[in-house]
Amino acid sequence: MVFLSNVILRTEGLSIQFGALKAVNNVSLSIEADKFTSILGPNGAGKTTFFNLVSGRYKPTGGRVFFKDQDVTALTPQQRIHAGMGRSFQLTNVFPALSVHENVRLSVQSAAKVRYTKLFRSYKKYTDIYEETNNILERILLKDKADVKAGDLTHGEQRKLELGMVLAQKPEVLLLDEPTAGMSVEEVPVMIDLLKNIKDAGETTIVLIEHKMNMVKALSDVLVVLVNGELLCEGDPETVSNNPDVMTAYLGGGVINVAT
């Protein structure tokens, strides 16, 4: 058993029902701080819905969410973000008409909690926000694209930008929804490296959604498998990937370890 104090994010019987469909069904999960947790499952397993519940985009029809032992089930997404829960999106979700720099800067500005009533001060005067933005851009390897419109980036670059926008919030828990989704074969290792750096920096606890296990097996400390909205099993990567239930349930068996 883990010590409760080490658990940063916990769900208790978390469920949501859309009509007759139980998209997420009674999921109780404890995520430990400083452990890289990957949530796996085939398409339609309810992974993203689970994130939507945890991050507050949807209200659950049952169960609760705890962050650092505080019940956050009733909080709005904004309140959860300011409490330290950041999330990225599976479908690229940036501000396409704004520059890369501005996309990240907006995120830094939000984390800096600049008052809304500061209407007479130019945003350019906040030099600390500006510097922090540049740091983030350097970290996600997009510094030379700072002035490019986010909509003009390649898909892979947009995924990096997405990651940078979440990082900028300095979250204690980083909920990453398939950061490599739709990336080309050359781009994936770059993203994995980025994730590794974040993990090694040890500033935040990463929870990641992925549907290809080989992508994250080496990175992860804990694997969680969701199937049909239910928690199938959790544990260290070796145990989970050799679990016969996982083998059969997940993509009809065996496929889970196939290299892509």
Partner: protein
């Protein structure tokens, strides 16, 4: 490193254009200062009207072009402000303190509408907000029609204004100062951290929420700013016109704001000034031509044509077109310099 160099070229590449811009602005300013000394009352009034409508359209652009709210009842503010002046003066006498009360009243009235619309737009979508705001303006218009004892209903209310606002020359300079002040204030707002959040909300509200922004709050602030500035434009218009009727609260007034800012360039703020100028001048020119041929009396006919041309060839309006051109020039220069290196 490369980025810094490009930035430098970007700036130096535009320095000539920026100089021309400054000269042009100065020229416009000089012309505006001189106009009342060389032209008749009709022109003075027309230019004053352009400048007041410019503020009204800029306020509208904060909503449509920055935060992305479609406010179809924006006439609430130009009409409301003008009615405040008219009613207060006709009820409490022609004096400056009464005028001041009208200004304060307008600000409160506009703020109340902004808060109501803010609540609604936070809960329902863009389209519902558009429809409901349209209904609000109609409600106000009906109220002013029915309240005959005070507003004279559809006949409209004629009133005198306190000195020095009864002087055309003074009113002209007051309008000029009003426009410059409001353009400056609104420009500052759009460049503030909150103004940047407005654009984020317009671009992708869901994402703005997940960056941790209280988008309803940001929107309410934008509504407050736009509504109050719009209301003040209404006060100025009342002072200039010395007459208000229910047309000022009608759909046509909202269309005007929309037309000015779209033509000038939505989301460019100063485009609204240009739009207001182009539309009112063009309208007057066509009306002057009615002696040549009666078709010019139907000026809206030509206006439709102009509008189609703008939408087809400059979808981002005149200012937007100019900004795009400027960006293209800077890019070309960058490429050229890059080749040299």
């Amino acid at each position: 490193m490369g980025g810094e160099k490009i930035m430098k070229n970007y700036i130096s590449g535009l320095s000539t254009i920026e100089k021309i811009e400054k000269l042009l602005l100065l020229a416009v300013f000089v012309v505006l200062v001189v106009v009342p000394h060389v032209s008749g009352t009709a022109t003075i009034t027309m230019v004053s009207r352009i400048m007041i409508f410019a503020v009204y359209a800029m306020a509208y652009d904060i909503l449509r072009g920055y935060i992305g709210v479609i406010h179809l009842g924006f006439a609430l503010f130009i009409g409301g402000g003008a009615y405040f002046v008219g009613i207060m003066i006709s009820q409490f006498g022609v004096s400056l303190p009464v005028l001041l009360m009208a200004v304060v009243g307008t600000a409160i009235y506009s703020a109340i509408w902004a808060l109501i619309v803010g609540r609604i737009s936070g809960k329902s979508g863009l389209l519902a907000t558009a429809m409901i705001t349209m209904a609000f303006a109609e409600i106000m218009r009906s109220l002013m029609t029915v309240w005959r004892t005070v507003t004279q209903g559809e006949d409209g209310l004629t009133f005198r204004v306190p000195s020095p606002f009864d002087n055309r020359m003074f009113m002209f300079y007051a309008s000029l100062a009003f426009m410059i002040l409001m353009a400056f204030v609104l420009y500052k707002f759009t460049k503030s951290p909150t103004g940047r959040v407005w654009q984020a909300v317009r671009e992708n509200e869901q994402r703005a929420i997940f960056l941790g922004y209280d988008t309803n709050r940001a929107r309410t602030i934008a509504l407050l700013v736009a509504s109050i500035v719009g209301g003040l434009a209404g006060v100025m218009f009342g002072l200039l016109n010395r007459f208000v009727n229910t047309d000022l609260l009608g759909m046509q007034m909202t269309y005007n704001a929309m037309l000015y800012s779209l033509l000038g360039g939505s989301g460019t703020l100063f485009g609204a000034i240009l739009g207001s100028g182009v539309v009112v001048l063009f309208q007057n020119l066509l009306l002057d031509l009615r002696g040549v041929h009666f078709i010019f009396e139907r000026w809206l006919l030509f206006f439709g044509g102009l509008y189609i041309v703008v939408v087809m060839f400059m979808p981002r309006g005149i200012m937007g077109f100019y900004y795009d051109w400027k960006e293209k020039m800077a890019y070309k220069k960058r490429v050229k310099d890059g080749e040299k290196v």
